[in-house]
């Protein structure tokens, strides 16, 4: 009887442990630059570096008057989600426009000067995410002498 009781308690604890790990995983998800399986997509030319980035690497390119390089971080989301982008310490001196896609294909655009942020998450707001959710960014607002960076994106709900 005693053994049975302790087995039940143990099983409950295990279930709790597994569930908490699953929920922790589900609550925060990352899309990595360059990792198509995590939701990354890009077009145009980008340089890669291993000298900075949330996971130690990132993509960058020079600013341009037209969008020659575009990156997008997509994730299937469900409900209220905080969208954030990581801006590392290098290759990020230009101004960019982040497109935030959320519920039913709606979009807001946010202009952020990457020059001001260094190894920091910049939170782009909380939106209702669905299967169309993503963040996109091109290099066309930055001066040709500046660099813009595509690093990790975080979705937290």
């Amino acid at each position: 009887m005693k053994l049975r009781k302790s087995l039940v308690v143990f099983t409950l604890l295990l279930t709790l442990s597994v569930l908490s790990s699953i929920s922790a995983f589900a609550a925060t998800s990352y899309v990595y630059n360059g990792d198509i399986s995590s939701g990354w997509w890009s077009s145009g030319v980008m340089n890669s570096t291993s000298s900075c980035g949330y996971d130690g690497k990132s993509y960058w390119y020079y600013g341009s008057s037209s969008p020659t390089s575009t990156g997008e971080w997509a994730k299937e989301l469900n409900g209220r989600t905080e969208y954030a982008v990581y801006i590392p310490s290098c290759n990020s001196t230009g101004s960019v426009k982040y497109h935030v896609w959320y519920e039913d294909g709606q979009r807001v655009d946010l202009n952020v000067n990457q020059l001001n942020y260094s190894n920091e998450w910049v939170i782009l707001g909380t939106y209702y995410g669905d299967s169309y959710s993503s963040i996109g960014m091109s290099n066309n607002l930055a001066s040709s002498s500046s660099k813009v960076v595509w690093d990790e994106v975080r979705f937290k709900n």
Binding site: L14, S17, A24, Y54, Q106, V108, D109, S118
Partner: protein
């Protein structure tokens, strides 16, 4: 229960626990690298807010004026840029961004009439987007008030956060406070006049800046808006961004927030 059942049960339980712990430790967090493993901040937001111009003004800039119009110039890159803005709190704006002041025929425009946002690209193409969802604005305000110190910057997302123009940090200066001000040593240099307005001058050094080694800010005493900022390398000015003109509460601007089509 036989011993073999107990052993099998323990192995299954142990493996499940192991998978759970592994999942929590590895799947929920990406690899932490040297670049982001230690905090780079030397000031907390609470410490910075003790400075009156920061706590009472810079963190509440949107609340400190009804409308403004002005022209901002950025120098120090290959092309100098010009941004013209007209803003009416809490949710209307018009902005014109000229990336290269030597070629004023190439420009972007954006307008928010409170219901819809339109961006006119340099080739005249009009792109529609949405104003910030009211719920997002409320949550942004609440989070800003209750913000704990972490390695994160929260944008002040009211309806006047611009999609173009490269001037959001000047108009929403708490973004500077949460990043550059937290990372460096702050020195309040005093007060002076800029554009005939009273300003407080603050210098930030040792802030791991990407350009230059120190940055100076001229902050409007009434609103908290950054009227001018300069990056220096030793004594050389390497980049600057400043209002060339600014006017508050001019009612003539009310017709400016008309959508392009």
């Amino acid at each position: 229960m036989s011993n073999s059942k107990k052993i099998i049960g323990s192995i299954v339980a142990g493996a499940t626990l192991g998978v759970g712990i592994y999942g929590y430790m590895h799947l929920s967090k990406p690899e932490i690298t040297e670049a982001n493993s230690k905090s780079q901040y030397v000031n907390s937001v609470a410490e910075l807010k003790e400075e009156p111009i920061i706590g009472a003004k810079m963190f509440k800039a949107n609340d400190n004026y009804g409308s403004l119009s002005g022209t901002i110039v950025k120098t120090g890159e290959v092309e100098n840029s010009i941004t013209e803005v007209v803003i009416a709190q809490p949710d209307r704006y018009y902005v014109k961004f000229i990336p290269n002041s030597n070629d004023k025929d190439v420009y972007f425009e954006a307008v928010n009439d409170g219901k819809s946002v339109q961006i006119k690209e340099d080739k005249g193409q009009i792109v529609e987007s949405n104003p910030f969802p009211t719920q997002s604005i409320r949550e942004s305000q609440n989070l800003k008030e209750n913000k704990k110190d972490d390695n994160e910057v929260r944008l002040n997302l009211n309806g006047t956060f611009l999609p173009i123009g490269n001037v959001n940090e000047m108009l929403h200066p708490e973004m500077y406070v949460q990043s550059v001000f937290r990372r460096g040593d702050m020195n309040v240099l005093g007060e002076e006049k800029y554009l005939e307005r009273d300003v407080t001058v603050i210098e930030i050094s040792n802030a791991q800046l990407k350009i230059g080694d120190r940055q100076k800010f001229w902050i409007d005493n009434k609103t908290g808006i950054v009227l001018k900022t300069v990056l220096y390398d030793d004594d050389d000015e390497v980049q600057s961004q400043y209002f060339e003109s600014i006017e508050f509460n001019n009612k003539k601007n009310t017709g400016t927030f008309k959508l392009f089509k």
